[in-house]
Assembly symmetry: D2
Homo-oligomer: 470 residues x 4
């Protein structure tokens, strides 16, 4: 056995199933061997550390165009630095069709931006205008080249599809073999409740949660499940935020449907109370679905454990707080209706999951790997290239110190925003060194000089419809 | 990297999470390296084959004393040959206290027999008489030396505990940190229904299923779950045979209890109709719990997929059909009450699970490994030494041909019985070569000369009470 | 105690709770006394008969304008004759706003027609165009004068509301204290599935059931429940046709919501197989929701027994089969999309419920009274004037022969259509004499000369929001 | 219509279904007429009052022999006075076989005592020793003469049956057509938990609830349901005390089983916290099953509303607090294991149900009648003679002032005990006058001179196995 390009020595290697001490031999950007006594041109000592697959975050908005004056706070350079800082080595981000615009052009523009990424990436295709041209001419080649998933919104003016349009996208996706990801909230009910609140002058950030209560998500989850069931289309419901929508997912899966769900970091550690922080601080926590309660958090953990929730993402959607394009772009005291939605979370995702999950004894390290890395790679057709440590897999690795205590600050996040909603979170367990295809992209508390190292991950047709293995 | 004792080359290695092509390097009976281009003193070409962890069958009765004239049809030599023939490399079998007898003496006797095993083994401790002496003097050293699980029967004269006794065993096991495994059927209801059938002269084999209907198992499952819950003791319910008892397990787990369940091969492919085969053929299918329906089989698969059922065992309990100590030991046409219970199944377990599961598309190869190998090893404290392929793990390996079609015959089972209840089963996928700690124990359709190769697996205290990781 | 106008002597009187032999004394159109040995100006001997409250059918389309060339086959004279023939003495029928039209004018027109009724009646108000004028100017006085319920459609072109409109109606109804009744099927999914079927040339009547499968009803039931829950509005879901939508109602009620449900006669005795009768016979069975399966029928009975389904109606919506305005108005072999929806059922409702329920031992006579008479009267604010036999209640009475066997024919229905979908149904139990406010409206197999006897039942505000009493 | 013996004039008459103003004419101890303007030899003005059926309390221990030194605090004279004080006019009490004794003799003794009752009564037959003689010789004539129900205990030394014995009683009852009532708690688990508490010196009254936690009741409820299901025997589970056992009843009924349940007054208004009152006050609240939590109370109300719980009883089991035969019979500070179980509650039952139910808006007056009177009469075969107001029914009537506010004191209870556990309860709604078969047994705050007025209610075979009508 020859010398390797790089050896990671003596760490506790963990996959979604296993955990054992071994050296990893890396050559040509891939894992070439797992053993002991391996030697190579370079080596990293991982003794006493966890050697985990790099994270796969299948729900991230990076450098995605926003309606002015809002602006996504990250470039691919900063967003991928933030990912790497948090132990994540693969992101799926979004090609977004504009209403009336071309999906193909949006894809071309976005691909050009993505070349700056430090880590590997793939795309979900947001369809906002499912014209025959889009569905029959523009979508097929994009899916064929590896963007094998579609995203639809059932709320948000400018993005939402009505049910007739949603059905057209579902039917087209089924034909092409693309997984449909869904933002599920009942649009008109949100509008109705919002109008009532606005009419009463109730517009501070805390009312955001009352304008989008759990029932809007529960209803819409049940609805999209029904439409997908009727047309036999596999879907993933994005950002399941609490008990009621998780129950709908549970019921769908109990019927044997090809329905998967994610939840996001913020729904596990933040609540609607954060929207009621003094002054406009609450605006920092405006995202959709809205934050829920601690009781919902407990249910989410139970649903994570029983497999109802398949993976954990960040729904990274960064705005700055200050400045003309940030959370307060509409003025110093905007109504909640004028505050851009979304939280930054790429770097915080895995440390918070590790800390709340593994360090607090809710899940094992293997479960952590499954929820943060493996399951998303499997669901979106990137496995075993991504999401695990196995011979032949990409050498996407995060070396973790499971005992390290870190208090989260914005500086540690390495993203483009001026704040993090997780400021002050006390983490136990932290990624120290991150490698993408064998190249160190983050170490010693800073990203390395790797802008542009990332590559597009083309996803071939895969067996995501198998009932258990996903 | 030095040369290995043995290299298994070019197979499709699979674990409970992964699947990839690699060589395995084996030295000192353990997996030393996973890579490509490995070389060693010997090698096995596994190109085009699956290289899987050897099976772990946590429920086997081998050479266990039976009440005369019945006799267990296997010795450790034959039982372990049968295991190896079916790709299984670790069994847990039973030290059985006799009513009024000593547990310690039973253990000493049984250990002496087990030294003849070709593969590794561990023991569950059957307690039939929980006297203070047994619980306080005999049990603790046995648990301490590594038999870290207790088995109780809630039915069967001569073996059953009443609820007061069961509570004493549960309490003692909790104190010692031993998992309690349970045969759960309502004894008095079985007696009542049996007496009614006998009084009506309804005693052919098919009435066995009516004497032990699902309700006796459902009730008793709910009962032992309640007792375990009240005393906070982790348990595994053995041989869940159908929908109703599986539902009780589901409910227990939804309450967050430390309750696990197994089902057995026979409940997935045989039904109560087999008890109604012509003549006394039905006697070949008498086991407890009784065989159920195809509807139950469908529910069992659903419960396997959702994690309610944790692993699949054989409940290997071999009787010969013919002869003075077999199924017909009480005469040529015995009433079902006089037929020894139990089916042979060690060799058939994994081929049937593979065939019905993987080949028919119900589960992935990774799921197969989890259900047949990894989960039992985890639940019973033998992981990662057993149940997976990882650096440092015992080199217990089964090399499978996933495409091979085999019709099961008794000769292929290599056990001591004169029949198999799975005769004629058409399998797709078959284990070809089986290794125990790097030594080939079965190849070319026959066991190798390895009687006595097996070693006792001592199980140290482990984290089986963690809610998700098991 | 003075002499009564009329005495019904010696019958078995039954209410939703009781059953006993007594005379009823009737004066001034009301029940004046219950006792024995009563005497009056006239008397009816009911010895050996059941004396039950007249039926309350809260879902009937009578002489309601249809889009040409279709035509409702009943006038109030014929429709109320049919009701009386089946033992029903109160109907709620529909004032229907035309898209863009005036609700007030529709009400005025319809009231004029209703004066011809032989039995008492009240109105649901169909809103198809919830403009501010309709909701704020036209609706309030109609509710105030006693039409204290609103009907909305979520499917059917020309009638359906989108969700934003539905929310406006719910909000207005809540303010006014009107119960909202809902036809719940997912419009766009029906359109999508219909278009697929039409594109494939699959347009015979049996495809009607495939264009409107259970999932369209289940989804829409969950949706309207969610909207009503969000705005805290009591609703009744109309014509629950099978297991899945009934489950949604069950879940809503388990959450403590003010949600009630009805099912209709046809869903208890007809199935989708009737749509596949030879030639165009299947067109006789086209109604929405579509007919389901026998398994659904079994679930409906279970849900009737556990209170999930509150009352049984006819959804009487009569078309002739032959003729230019009937089921075949679009030609001799129309696609299912061109066949008018709806079945005739006023006269058949109670006999079928009695026969399938009481005579077959599924329910008691008291349950029959509750399901056919009392519960609807309570839910819609007509109790105790209607729906029971109590001192002071209107003397609306049906005298039943519980043992009489009758084969249903169209002639026995006394309606305006040329067919009944229940032709050939073998009933056990039949209403013989029907009285409205003490006046015999049907006897000896024929309606009496009572056109115009009926009066509008104004419904005052009532306690329909109490969780149990309804 | 002739003059009546007695007329109750102008009250608001209510049944389980209806509510209306009318006069009741009573002759020969029965309700002869319901009307207006009735006249009679005597009359009671009930204007502004509710005129309700007298209560039926199907679970009362009156003058029942207890193991010395304990003594039942009531005679039939005092117990029936207490019943009448609370508006109850029929009780079912218990003939109790002593272990090893004769059931027939126990019945003869008890019948002699019961002749002193002021109100009508019937018997459940407690079997503690199901010998062939008891089941085959003694039981049949007692059932035949009208004691058509059997009671079994699955806990309590001296009373409990093991499962084999329970099966024999179930089988015998099925043959005879007797309903089996069950005290369901897991005996050995109680013993195990009690021994643990005693060993730790934890014996004050509050530990009673920890020795008998909900799991002992949940388990045993599931068990007796299973046994009854296996043998197809209708049962009522007595004193369902909280959420978990109610859920088992719900599941049983959802499977269509003939399983009914009661709860008792104390489980609706008292909790385990009452066991922790200062000093030995807690001993006043020792009963089995033990009192639960306010959360359980909320679930019980939900289960009352959905029909899972069929009727409300008192489980009247009176001990004095002071004195040598009362709660402290074993000394001034007895361990909870030495405190007689049981609470007094006959008089408090209906006032508390009315107050918590009707006055607080949880249920309607009709529901109150159903839960307190009608349903028990139906379930135990006394309907329509008892439990309703209908022509021909016994004139058992309670005249209630729905607005009267009363603070419960022991003096108001008119029983033989020196305390009531409901002392200080603020009731709204109170029974003022109680009649048994037309005779006033309680008025103006005191029982009338009617000792011995009561008669045995023989119960003929009845249709209690119908799934809905009960």
């Amino acid at each position: 056995m020859d010398s390797f390009d790089l050896v990671i020595k003596g760490g506790q290697v963990a996959t979604a199933s296993d955990s054992y001490v071994a050296d990893l031999g890396i050559s040509g950007g891939r894992i070439a061997a797992i053993g002991t006594g391996l030697s190579g041109a370079r080596s990293i000592d991982a003794t006493g550390k966890l050697v985990l697959p790099g994270g796969v975050d299948s729900h991230t908005h990076i450098e995605q165009p926003s309606p002015p004056p809002q602006k996504n706070a990250d470039t691919f350079a900063s967003g991928s630095a933030s990912a790497a800082a948090g132990g994540t080595t693969t992101v799926i981000c979004f090609v977004g069709q504009k209403k009336g615009g071309s999906l193909a052009e949006a894809a071309a523009d976005y691909k050009a931006k993505a070349t700056q990424s430090r880590i590997d990436y793939s795309f979900h295709l947001i369809i906002t205008d499912p014209t025959p041209k889009v569905l029959e001419e523009e979508l097929p080649p994009l899916v064929a080249e590896g963007s094998r998933s579609v995203k639809i919104f059932l709320t948000y003016d400018g993005a939402r599809l009505n049910d007739a349009e949603a059905l057209r996208v579902l039917a087209a996706s089924r034909k092409l073999g693309a997984l449909v990801c869904v933002h599920a909230e009942h649009h008109e009910l949100i509008q109705h409740l919002t109008a009532e609140l606005v009419a009463k002058g109730l517009t501070t950030p805390k009312y955001h949660a009352l304008a989008k209560p759990m029932v809007v998500e529960r209803e819409c989850t049940a609805r999209i499940v029904a439409l997908a069931e009727a047309l036999d289309v596999p879907i993933q419901v994005f950002h399941v935020s609490g008990a009621d929508s998780a129950e709908e997912i549970f019921r769908a899966r109990a019927r044997g449907l090809k329905v998967w769900a994610e939840t996001c970091t913020q729904y596990l550690v933040l609540t609607a109370d954060d929207l009621d922080r003094p002054g406009m601080e609450g605006a920092k926590y405006i995202c959709s679905p809205a934050l829920r309660t601690t009781a919902d958090q407990a249910v989410l953990w139970a649903r994570i454990k029983d497999g109802t929730i398949h993976n954990i993402t960040s729904d990274h959607a960064p705005s700055r707080f200050a400045g003309p394009d940030g959370k307060l772009c509409a003025g110093p005291n905007p109504p909640f209706t004028k505050v851009p939605n979304g939280l930054t979370g790429l770097a915080a995702r895995l440390p918070i999951l590790f800390s709340e999950g593994v360090s607090k004894g809710r899940i094992t390290v293997q479960d952590f790997v499954a929820l943060g890395c493996t399951n998303a790679a499997k669901l979106f057709g990137m496995f075993p290239r991504k999401g695990t440590i196995a011979v032949g897999s990409d050498a996407d690795i995060a070396i973790w110190d499971p005992a390290r205590k870190v208090t989260i600050t914005n500086a540690l996040m390495h993203h483009g925003s001026d704040y993090t909603p997780f400021e002050g979170f006390e983490a136990t367990g932290w990624p120290e060194t991150t490698l993408s295809r064998g190249v160190v992209v983050f170490e010693d508390g800073a990203p390395t000089d790797t802008v542009g190292h990332g590559r597009f991950v083309a996803r071939a047709p895969y067996d995501y419809i198998k009932p258990l293995g996903a």
